[in-house]
C-alpha cells in the first residue's frame, strides 16, 4: 500500500511527528526531575530503597502516610525516615545516630536538626524543614555551613535530600516539607583525627532561599548539579563546574544552631607508609576505620602536573565476602569510592591527595578485615578539551597489618 506524502508517519518528512512526540514527551517529564539522589540512595546504601521525589500522586500518598504514621507510631516514624537515608541509615539502625530535636521557627517555617553523628571520618547532620510555602513557580534551595566553636569550617562532602511527599519511599513527607542528611568533613579540623575529643561543639547555619523555578529561570537546574565546595585551605580541584549565577531569591531565611555532639571514638588508624611502582611513589598518609566506614588518604606527586589526577583502588580481604555494592560474593576485593570532592593539592610540594571511602554501605555491620590497600592505577584527565585520559598503571600495595588490632 502506498502511503501518502505528508503523512507524519511516512519515512519523509519525519520532522512534524518528531516534534509532536517531543512535545508529548516534554509534557510528561518534569524539567526539574533529578533521579540522582534516589539513585545514590539505591546504589550506595544497604538495603537498597527506592526514593522518588515529588510527583502528582505523591501528595495524596504523603498526606495519607503522614496521618497514618502520626496516629500509630509517634517517634518511630522519625527513625524510619532516617533509616531510609544513605550513610546515616545504617548508623540509625545500629543505634549510633544521636537524636537532636533542635527546632527554630521563622515566618511559619520550622527547621529542625533531628539527627547527628560524629566519628573520626565524618560528621552527619539530619535536618527537616516544615511549613515551606508551596508555589508552582518557586523552589526552596537549602544551604548549609558548619564550623566548630573556634571558627574552623567543616566542608560539606555529600548532601542527600528528599523534598515534598514521596510515595516511592513510603516516607511521611508532606508537600512543603523537606528532609536531608549533610555529611561534613572533620579532617579539616586541627589535630583531627589524631586527637579525638569526647564531644564536638558545632555551629550550623541553614539558609533557605526561595528561587524562581526552571520555567522562569532556565539556569536554576545547574544550581543543584554544582558540587559542594572543596575543603578549606587547599586549592580545591572540585570546581569542575563554575559557581552558577543564582537568580534573585524571593525570600531568604537563615537559621543558626549551636549543638554539641558526642564523638564516637572507635577507630583503627594506620600511620603513613609509601609504595613505589613503575618509578612513582605513592604515600598512604592515613587509613582510618570507624563504625561509619573506612577512609584513606593517598598522596602522590603527579606524573604530569598539567592533568587532573584521580586513582582507582580496592581493599583486599583475608576472608572477604564484600563487594563494592555491599553484596556477598566470593570476591576478595572491595572497590573504593574515590571522591572528586576530596581531591586537593598541596601547593608547596605539588602533591595531589585523594581520599577513598570504603564500606559506606555496610556501616554498623560486622565487616571483613582488610589486609591491604591496592591502588590499581592513576588516571589523569586534561583540564579542558576532549579528554583522553592518561593511565599510569600500578599496582601500589599498602599492607594493613591485622596483628596490630
Amino acid at each position: 500500500m502506498e502511503e501518502r506524502k505528508g503523512f507524519p508517519m511516512d519515512s519523509e518528512p519525519e520532522a512534524p511527528l518528531q516534534e509532536a512526540l517531543d512535545r508529548i514527551a516534554r509534557s510528561r517529564v518534569r524539567e526539574d526531575v533529578d533521579l540522582w539522589p534516589a539513585l545514590q540512595a539505591r546504589l550506595f546504601t544497604t538495603p537498597a530503597r527506592r526514593i522518588r521525589f515529588g510527583g502528582r500522586r505523591a501528595w495524596a500518598w504523603g498526606l495519607a502516610g503522614l496521618a497514618l504514621v502520626l496516629a500509630l507510631a509517634g517517634m518511630a516514624w522519625a527513625r524510619y525516615l532516617w533509616e531510609a537515608f544513605p550513610f546515616i541509615g545504617p548508623l540509625e539502625r545500629a543505634g549510633k545516630a544521636r537524636p537532636l530535636a533542635q527546632s527554630q521557627r521563622q515566618d511559619g517555617i520550622t527547621v529542625t536538626l533531628e539527627r547527628a553523628y560524629v566519628d573520626a571520618n565524618r560528621v552527619l547532620i539530619g535536618y527537616r524543614v516544615r511549613g515551606l510555602p508551596e508555589s508552582a513557580d518557586t523552589v526552596w534551595l537549602p544551604e548549609f555551613t558548619l564550623e566548630d566553636t573556634a571558627g574552623h569550617p567543616l566542608p560539606p562532602l555529600i548532601r542527600t535530600s528528599l523534598a515534598g511527599a514521596s510515595e516511592g519511599s513510603g516516607l511521611p513527607l508532606l508537600p512543603g516539607e523537606m528532609a536531608g542528611v549533610i555529611e561534613f568533613d572533620p579532617w579539616a579540623l586541627p589535630d583531627w583525627p589524631a586527637r579525638l575529643p569526647e564531644t564536638l561543639a558545632l555551629r550550623m547555619q541553614v539558609t533557605l532561599r526561595a528561587l524562581p523555578t526552571v520555567a522562569s529561570a532556565p539556569g536554576l537546574l545547574r544550581v543543584e548539579i554544582a558540587p559542594e565546595a572543596g575543603p578549606a585551605g587547599g586549592a580545591s580541584e572540585t570546581s569542575a563546574l563554575p559557581p552558577p549565577a543564582l537568580p534573585t531569591p524571593r525570600a531568604v531565611h537563615t537559621f543558626q544552631f549551636d549543638v554539641t555532639v558526642p564523638v564516637v571514638r572507635e577507630a583503627i588508624v594506620y600511620g603513613p607508609q609509601t609504595a613505589t611502582a613503575r618509578g612513582l611513589t605513592l604515600a598512604l598518609e592515613r587509613w582510618v576505620e570507624t563504625p561509619s566506614g573506612t577512609r584513606a588518604r593517598v598522596c602522590f606527586r603527579p606524573p604530569d602536573p598539567r592533568l587532573r589526577w584521580t586513582l582507582a583502588a580496592e581493599q583486599k580481604f583475608k576472608e572477604s565476602e564484600a563487594t563494592a555494592e555491599g553484596e556477598r560474593s566470593s570476591q576478595t576485593t572491595q572497590i573504593g569510592v574515590a571522591s572528586l570532592i576530596q581531591l586537593t593539592i598541596t601547593p608547596n610540594e605539588g602533591h595531589v591527595c585523594q581520599d577513598l571511602f570504603f564500606d559506606l554501605s555496610s556501616s554498623g555491620r560486622t565487616r571483613p578485615r582488610p589486609t591491604a590497600l591496592y591502588v590499581l592505577e592513576l588516571v589523569g584527565f586534561p583540564q579542558s578539551g576532549t579528554p583522553e585520559p592518561v593511565r599510569w598503571p600500578g599496582p601500589w600495595v599498602f599492607p594493613l597489618p591485622l596483628e596490630d588490632r
Binding site: M1, E3, R4, G6, F7, P8, M9, D10, E14, P16, L17, Q18, E19, A20, L21, D22, R23, I24, A25, R26, S27, R28, V29, R30, E31, V33, D34, L35, W36, A38, L39, Q40, R42, L43, F44, R50, R52, G55, R56, G168, I225, P227, A240, L241, T310, A312, A324, E325, I335, V337, A338, S339, L340, I341, V379, F381, T386, P387, E388, P389
Partner: protein, 177 residues
C-alpha cells in the same frame, strides 16, 4: 565534567562520574520512557532501573564507545519490560489494518500543532502494542534506522519493517477517526 571524564570515572566506580552521567542523560532517557510508558511514574521507575543496571554492568561498557546508545538500550529494555507487564501485547492479527485505510485526503500532520491533535496522537500511541510503540518512538523520535532497531530489539530487519508498517497504518487510521 566532560563526558569522557564522566565515563572514565563511572567505569572506575566513582559516584561523581555516575552522577554526571545521570544528570546529563536523565531528561533524554525519561522522555523516551515517557513515550513508551504513558505513566510518568513508571517512566521514572524504568529510567532509574536502567541507571542501576548501568552502574552494575559498567565494566561491560566498551571504553571509548558512546554512552548514549548503550544506555538507551537499557532504558528501552526496562520500559518495554514494564509496558509488557502492564498490558498484553496486542496481537497483530486482532487489529488488522489491511483494507482499512482511512480517508486518503486527510492530513493529520497539519493538525499536530493543536493540543487536541497532540492528545489524539498520544492516545493513538497508547493504543499501539508496547513493541510497536517502542519501535515508533525509536524510529521517529530517536531517528534510529531499521537496522539499528533490529539490533536493539534482537529481531530481524524484516520484522521491524513489518511492525513499523502496521504501526503506521494503525496510527494513520486512529488519527483520522
Amino acid at each position: 565534567m566532560e563526558e569522557g571524564e564522566a565515563i572514565a570515572r563511572w567505569r572506575a566506580g566513582d559516584p561523581e562520574g555516575m552522577a554526571a552521567l545521570v544528570r546529563r542523560y536523565q531528561q533524554r532517557a525519561l522522555r523516551i520512557a515517557a513515550l513508551i510508558l504513558p505513566d510518568p511514574m513508571q517512566a521514572e521507575d524504568a529510567v532509574q532501573e536502567a541507571f542501576v543496571r548501568a552502574w552494575r554492568h559498567r565494566r561491560s561498557f566498551r571504553p571509548n564507545a558512546p554512552f548514549w546508545p548503550w544506555f538507551r538500550q537499557l532504558v528501552v529494555h526496562e520500559a518495554l519490560r514494564l509496558a509488557r507487564r502492564e498490558g498484553r501485547e496486542t496481537p497483530m492479527e486482532a487489529d488488522s489494518v489491511e483494507g482499512n485505510d482511512p480517508d486518503p485526503h486527510a492530513d493529520p500532520a497539519e493538525q499536530l500543532d493543536s493540543s487536541e491533535a497532540l492528545a489524539q496522537l498520544a492516545r493513538a500511541l497508547a493504543r499501539l502494542s508496547p513493541t510497536q510503540r517502542t519501535l515508533v518512538v525509536l524510529r521517529y523520535y530517536e531517528g534510529m534506522r531499521e537496522e539499528e532497531l533490529a539490533a536493539a530489539l534482537g529481531c530481524a530487519v524484516g520484522t521491524v519493517k513489518r511492525h513499523l508498517h502496521e504501526a503506521r497504518q494503525r496510527l494513520r487510521r486512529w488519527l483520522t477517526e
